[in-house]
Symmetry: C2
Subunit: 208 residues, 2 copies
DNA sequence: GCTAGAATATGAACTGATTCAAGTTTTATC
DNA sequence: GATAAAACTTGAATCAGTTCATATTCTAGC
């Protein structure tokens, strides 16, 4: 019976992920050992390493479905963006992160840290950021085509700026437990509004 | 002779830092073991832990002098900022990071990762960011007082936005070895210019 | 200058992620 | 259905950071 191996593999990988989900939620990432996960998944420790290259890579797998969901929500929104350009950008960013809130900050911190240290994780982790920047750029191009934005500014760079604001607020939320998810969202909205409003006195800018 | 202990302590801490500097530069952070550092500093491993709470905390100590130098350069600039507000912000940020380039990206990545995971490091590491944001806010307030900026925008939030742009570009530079320090600086200048220029078509903004 | 007690230094033991040589199961072929 | 090769599993061994009980050094008071 061809394919026994394949189905067994899928089932085992799923067992690891289920075990990790429960244990990470119960004791946190650091206090969960690979032994714990292996025991709960009824596997040997070494076996887990056939499915995941490292402990943090398990988080990446847990989180990936949600980053994809966020990207898809963002793409869907692009098809028919809100009329107000500020609201459009706010909505895109909020929809892209919304699924992230499903996971403990603990896990995001560990995964982000691992992505910084382990070249094998860097690409997989930051690929989502690259795609959000691309979505933002597409949105800005569309808004620009509509005539809602100054045409002399580069949408790619605008996307980088807006994403940067988003990213650093998200990191602030991760680092500081006193910043709730709601506070983060409110700040994000406010900052996007400010950034898009422009900061220079009108007299200084391009056309007089 | 009172104070023998004190001077011995200082000397030993310095020995650890010197050893770490050499070894990190030679083999990188990860491939340098605490044993290696201890051997080179002519101390026992355990002794290092009387001076530094963890391996990454050694990096923090190495880097701290430079973050302070950056902050002081920024403060000095605040006393007499360039006439052009865009140049003023660019200069502040560039002077604040300039000393960071003294250290391998390797070390910054490891330190940033550790600051995310270890609550004992978080505050010490991100304190510098908080202070740069405060400097930026002060600068924006001053530029605003001068009449160079729109008075209706919150300088604190403006600082958060500008810092966010800076921070994410810096992270991009850390993560992606193909982004040179010079590329990073050029992007930073361009993005700050764009962000301060504003992104909305003039017709949309505040006064008609 | 001796000594009690505090402060430091020491390295062997501990911990937990990761690796790897040996054993087991699956598949494809005849 | 027997078999050889491939794929997968296993857990004991490895490795490096951190801890901790013990030993050493310093200080202050006599």
């Amino acid at each position: 019976m061809a394919g026994r191996r394949e189905s067994q593999k899928q089932e085992r990988e799923a067992r690891v992920l289920r075990a990790a989900t429960v244990l990470f939620a119960r004791r946190g990432f650091e206090r969960t050992t690979m032994q714990d996960i292996a025991r709960r998944a009824r596997l040997a420790v070494g076996t887990i390493y056939n499915y995941f290259r490292s402990k943090p890579e398990i988080i990446l797998a847990l989180v990936q479905r949600d980053t994809l969901a966020g990207l898809e929500a963002g793409e869907a929104m692009l098809k028919d963006p809100p009329g107000d350009p500020v609201v459009a950008v706010q909505t895109l960013l909020e929809e892209a992160v919304a699924p992230f809130a499903r996971h403990d900050r603990d896990l995001w911190r560990e995964l982000t840290a691992a992505a910084l240290r382990d070249p094998g994780l860097t690409h997989g982790f930051f690929a989502a950021d690259v795609r959000v920047i691309a979505l933002l750029a597409a949105l800005l191009r569309e808004l620009s085509a509509r005539g809602d934005l100054r045409a002399d500014l580069d949408p790619g760079r605008g996307a980088v700026c807006l994403y940067g604001i988003f990213f650093s607020l998200w990191m602030g939320h991760l680092i500081d437990e006193s910043v709730t998810y709601e506070t983060f969202r409110a700040e994000l909205r406010a900052c996007v509004a400010l950034a898009m409003h422009g900061y220079l006195e009108r007299a200084q800018g391009g056309s007089p």
